[in-house]
Structure formats: structure tokens, C-alpha cells
Symmetry: C2
Subunit: 205 residues, 2 copies
């Protein structure tokens, strides 16, 4: 599954033993989540982010991650929320220890799900998975990024359990900025950088 790859619906239908109809609906759901690009009369292609669009995604992610973290910190209730959050963190640690990418992805999803559940904002729960963050995770999957993420997630979690909304929001913004910096460095190394210094356009700290 490489970015830009085209998915022919007849093939998928045959492959999964389902009707073309189901394939089309699945594609629409994936398009809504930003996984595939859908243009009329063309096969759906799994989404590819050029450097510019990558940073655009990060700007949106910064805004909504900050909101998610802040909202979770406001609504955190140790009684109900401590266990699931701690479970997510433990799984992140475990995934990093055994160094398995698939398990790490699962743990990351669990962490964000916990964050969104704690916050309780249904609209955010609906919108958040539509951000192209998944694509970034998949496209720039490095061990370095995983380490940074675990540390950042811990900072967010601590601010949340400490019921510190502004700290949580800031930790969320900081996390996205860390990801941005790592990607900038990776792009500079590979020389595919068009705008050498691309600054964040979200709330400065």
C-alpha cells in the first residue's frame, strides 16, 4: 500500500468477495477520513502528501490536538478516566519497548481515543479522525518520531490528569511542533524541501 497507488474497484470487489457497491461505499468512508483521494471518473488513489500539504495538515492538527488536550484536562475525572488513560500509556511504553510499528499505531490510536473520550466533545470525536495525521504517521514512520511521540504523549497525559487545561493544550501544540521539526529535518536531508523554513501558523506557544 504505497501512497499514490490506485485502487480499482472491480479488483477489490473480487479480492474481498464483495460487490462493487460495498467497495464504493467503503471508498467514500475512507475519503471522508482523508485516506484516499477521490476524483470523478478516476480510480481512488491512496492519499499522498507533498511537503506543503504535510505542513498544512500539521497546522490543522495543532489546532485540534490542542483543543482535544485542553478539553480532556477540563473534564478529567480520576474516578472514571484514570484507568483507560493509564492503560493507553502503558501500551505505548510496551510498544516502544518491543519496537513494533503495528502495535505502536494501535497504542497511538488508543491514546487519542482516550483523550477524546475524556473530553467528551462529540463533534471533536467526529472531526478529529478526519485529519490527515494518519497519512503523516504512515509516510514518515521513523524510530525517532516514535520516541518523541511517547515523550509528548506523556506530557499531555500528565497535564490532563493534573487538570491543567492550558498546560495540556500547550503540550499538544508542542507535540505537533516536534513532529514538524523532525519532518523538516528529514526533508532537508532528502533535499526535497521547497521552502527551507516553513513556520507553524498555529498559536505560537
Amino acid at each position: 500500500m504505497v501512497p499514490g497507488q490506485r485502487l480499482i474497484e472491480t479488483d477489490l470487489a473480487a479480492c474481498f468477495q464483495v460487490g462493487r457497491n460495498a467497495v464504493r461505499e467503503a471508498m467514500q468512508k475512507l475519503a471522508a477520513r482523508g485516506v484516499v483521494d477521490l476524483s470523478p471518473h478516476r480510480s481512488p488513489a491512496i492519499r499522498r502528501l507533498d511537503p506543503d500539504e504535510t505542513f498544512e495538515v500539521l497546522d490543522v492538527a495543532s489546532a485540534l490536538t490542542g483543543l482535544a488536550a485542553r478539553t480532556a484536562a477540563i473534564h478529567f475525572d480520576a474516578q472514571r478516566h484514570d484507568t483507560p488513560l493509564r492503560a493507553a500509556m502503558d501500551m505505548l511504553d510496551e510498544a516502544q519497548r518491543v519496537d513494533e510499528a503495528a502495535m505502536f499505531s494501535q497504542a497511538r490510536r488508543r491514546f487519542y481515543r482516550a483523550l477524546l473520550t475524556i473530553g467528551g466533545n462529540r463533534e471533536l470525536q467526529r472531526i478529529f479522525p478526519a485529519i490527515g495525521m494518519h497519512i503523516i504517521y504512515a509516510q514518515y514512520q521513523t524510530r525517532q518520531l516514535r520516541g518523541i511521540r511517547v515523550a509528548d504523549y506523556r506530557a499531555i497525559a500528565e497535564a490532563v490528569v493534573g487538570s491543567n487545561p492550558e498546560g495540556a493544550a500547550e503540550a499538544g501544540h508542542a507535540h505537533v511542533e516536534h513532529v514538524r521539526r523532525v519532518i523538516i529535518e528529514a526533508l532537508e536531508r532528502s533535499g526535497s524541501m521547497v521552502h527551507p523554513e516553513r513556520k507553524a501558523q498555529g498559536e505560537g506557544s
Copy 2:
């Protein structure tokens, strides 16, 4: 078209002279934009926001409207962007003058489209229409709200043409807060308010 109304796909197919399939795909697109609620084995219902969820939508809207305004202010170029933005503002004025709801909706959409175009953030262009703001506009359509909106939009536009990112973001946040206040008052009048004081959970000023 009243909130909660159920849409039977057979009826719609017959009504619009299209196949059930097309209706289903259209429903999925509407669900992605947050217009209808879609639960398995049940007819799609046009989305209804209870007071709580209304405020949750506003929290998300505040974050993304702020980002949209800030990004537009950063990328504003008088040469290319002055004309479309001014056209949108003129249409808003005209719509308010003749006091037509349909025209006002169209003008509002145009304003946001201009904002998103100026900013140039493709991910934001993709995500923004998915916010349930439409539903709020439809559900709380009052003359008072229209007036507030025109004033707020003007403030945003001025900050944008002045290339003042922080001012634009603040104007965006302020706009959403104004809408929030009007809705709180409306709910208090109608007595359907559960949590009497529901504070914004986005960035304070």
C-alpha cells in the same frame, strides 16, 4: 426539512428519479459533512443538535475559524485576494439590506470560501465544511444572529486585509463567542437549558 426528520432512501430515489445507490452515496457525503446522522439499519435522519452538542460544535468551530482567519491574514495578497474578499463582503451587506435568509446563507458560504482560499491550506479547506456550523446556522436562524455575523465578518476581513494574523484569529474566536452568547440567551428564554453557564473551552481571548 426539520431536524430529526428521517429520509427513506426508496422515497428519495423515486422522488429524484435516481437509483437507490446514488441516494446512498449522497447520504454518505452528507454524513461526512455532518448534515445527517447515519446509524446502521436505520433511515438517515437530518442531524439535530441538543444544547450540549451545540456548544461542543462551537468549541471546534472556534479553533478552526481562528486558524482559518489567521492563515488567511498571513497569506493575504492584495493583488490577488482583495477583489473576491470585497465581493463577499458586499454580498453580505446586500443580503442583510434586503433581509433574505437564502441570499445571506449564500453570502456566508462565499465569505468562508474566500477566507479558506486566501489561506490556501488544503487540509483546512477539506475539514472546515465538515464542522456542524451549518446545522447551528439553520437551527438558530434569527435576524439578530445575522446582524452580529456581518459585523464580525467585517472585523475578520479587516484584520485579514491588514495582514494582522493575531487580530484575525482573535476576531474569529470573538465571532464564535458572540454566536455562543446569543444561543445561550435563546436557550434560557425557552427554558431548555440544562447547564445554565456553559463556558467556552477554546483559547480564551
